[in-house]
Amino acid sequence: MTAKATLNGTITMTGGENATSRGFEWGTQTGVYPSSWTENGSFGVEAYTHQVTGLTEDITIFYRAKATNSEGTGYGAEQTFKTWKGVLPTDSGAGVETPSLALAQTFTDSGIGAEGLPSIGLSFVDVGSGSESSLDLQYNIQPTDSGVGSETSLILAATLSVTDAGSGLDKSGFLWDAFDSGAGVDAVAELTATVPITDSGQGVETWSVQASFTIGEAGAGSEALGLSVAIPVSEAGSGTEIVTPEVAMLLSDAGSGVEVPTTTFEVTVIDAGVLTDTAALTAVIPISDSGIGAEGTLSLAISFTITDAGSGAEVETTASSFTVTDLGANMDAASITAAIPASDSLTGVEALSFTASIPATDSGAGVDVQITGASFTVADSGGLFSELVTVPGYPFITDSGVTVEVFSKQFDIFEEALAAEFAWRRKGPVLIDALELPHVLSIRVTDDAAIVDKKLQGGLLPRRKMIGKSGRVVEIVGWSDSQSEIDALEALVDGTARTFYHPSGDSFAVLVTGFNPDQSVDEYDRRAYRLSLVELRSW
């Protein structure tokens, strides 16, 4: 076998007269150049190359560039390189042989300018019995000129394919070891790539490694393919940050046919008979560099705990929906929790928190709950702080006997004044007899004392005397989005003595003297109303 090489030279100055010839001379000893190449013409300040073939393998070559004009011949400094040595593979019978080939290349600093770009092309063709003589191997070395000193960066890309060759080692490419497992695809060893990261100051330094694997079906037995990338994360201020992702792909043997890696997360609850069924899902998602400060992570945890209700599957979860099937005289329960904090975005909504816990009370035939969806509207508070909205749960469930009960609740975040109303409602309802007044916004209680004046002639002040009290007068303002509620309030104006219950716990007998609802509704179909009460004295 012989080797070849491409020589590079540059005419750096002509002294005002172009060169009439240029070329190279080379040999295997320093200072001795038995071989040469020359081309004639008119050459100015420019680079030129020449490919030399028929060189001996694994030998050091000494060469120099030269150029000639009427003033004489000029020579460049002596350069050296070593030619490659090929290794013939050993015939393995049928199948393409893949030899191991150790390659080493040392770059000699050429001062200014990128060092030469070597390439090697070798191909092997299976000739049946007998050794193959060539190998398909290509890699590119692309050094970046670093000025003075040898360049050291290297870009290496490889595509790996494994074809089952029956008995014997399956080869997958360059610098890989495979272990024969008899029939079926053999396991492929690890590919390790280490790429140093240069600190760029602010921002995450990133790099990527790509590798593709093709596994041929080998019948019975699992093909296992694992790919893991571990990059520790540490905050270094203005230094290099690195991110830790983890991806694990496991293949389950599916008998005949190519196995497929699982890259999506699924949660399936399988009935375990009389045992409690559980399912959990956890994902950790690192985020990009934020400049100063350690990068945190978003974490999402959804856990489902289902109380066993006898035989049969209890819950199947899809996204945020639950379906609970009535399984007779046992308690069914479901819950969901999601917390999604976010970093401050100055303008725009920052954070959202949703908690809903809907326990169900079994009533013999069974109370079942189905969440059909929830919507949130969060008002932006601007500034530098996160908004956090917690939506209260409203477990309004009415047992319908032997059928599955369902309810859906749409959570709307109203303007601030009305949001406070929900807190007031939990403090205590406003009632007239057993009727809860809807969405009360204000209660005004006036207690007047009747005072008469007796003017004194020439006196500075009148004499005033309280002659009695007429009783408290109550004015209630609220709103309703239900016509049935409006009708129920209107029915109170019938002259019947009733009891008014204030949310503070105070109560007294009243007569409803007036009910005035607005004639129009707002964009939420809400209608304001005003209710007037007078206190009744017991006789």
């Binding site: 009305l418 403090k427 204000s442 209680v445 020439g458 500075l460 009148p462």
Partner: protein
């Protein structure tokens, strides 16, 4: 602190005083103006506005107002340097709103100066 007798009014935010005189008119036919005579003082009407807050017994505080609607003259000291006013408690108004909540009713009480 504004006090009515010995009872302190909570978190007073406003005091309004209305003074009046009793003037009698006697019409004189054909005259441009009638005969007016100041007869006596009408007595001041003082309205105190405030809020009950940070007090778990807010219901009791309102009841303490109501029991003083008893036709008894008490000294109303506005603590503004003026002379205390002898007055009787007239009307009481309490207002609850969702913004302030059940625990923070605002109130308005009216006192009538008397002798």
């Amino acid at each position: 602190m504004v006090t009515f007798g010995s009872y302190p009014l909570a978190h007073v935010s406003d005091v309004a005083i209305q003074e009046s005189r009793i003037i009698s008119d006697r019409l004189i036919p054909g005259a441009k103006i009638g005969h007016r005579r100041d007869q006596t003082a009408g007595g001041r009407t003082i309205t105190v506005t405030g809020q009950i807050r940070d007090d778990p017994d807010y219901v009791l505080r309102l009841e303490e107002f109501r029991v003083r609607q008893d036709d008894v003259i008490r000294s109303l000291d506005l603590e503004d340097g003026s002379t205390a006013i002898d007055a009787k408690l007239g009307s009481i108004e309490a207002v609850w709103t969702v913004e302030e909540g059940v625990d923070r009713p605002s109130y308005s009480v009216t006192f009538y100066e008397t002798c």
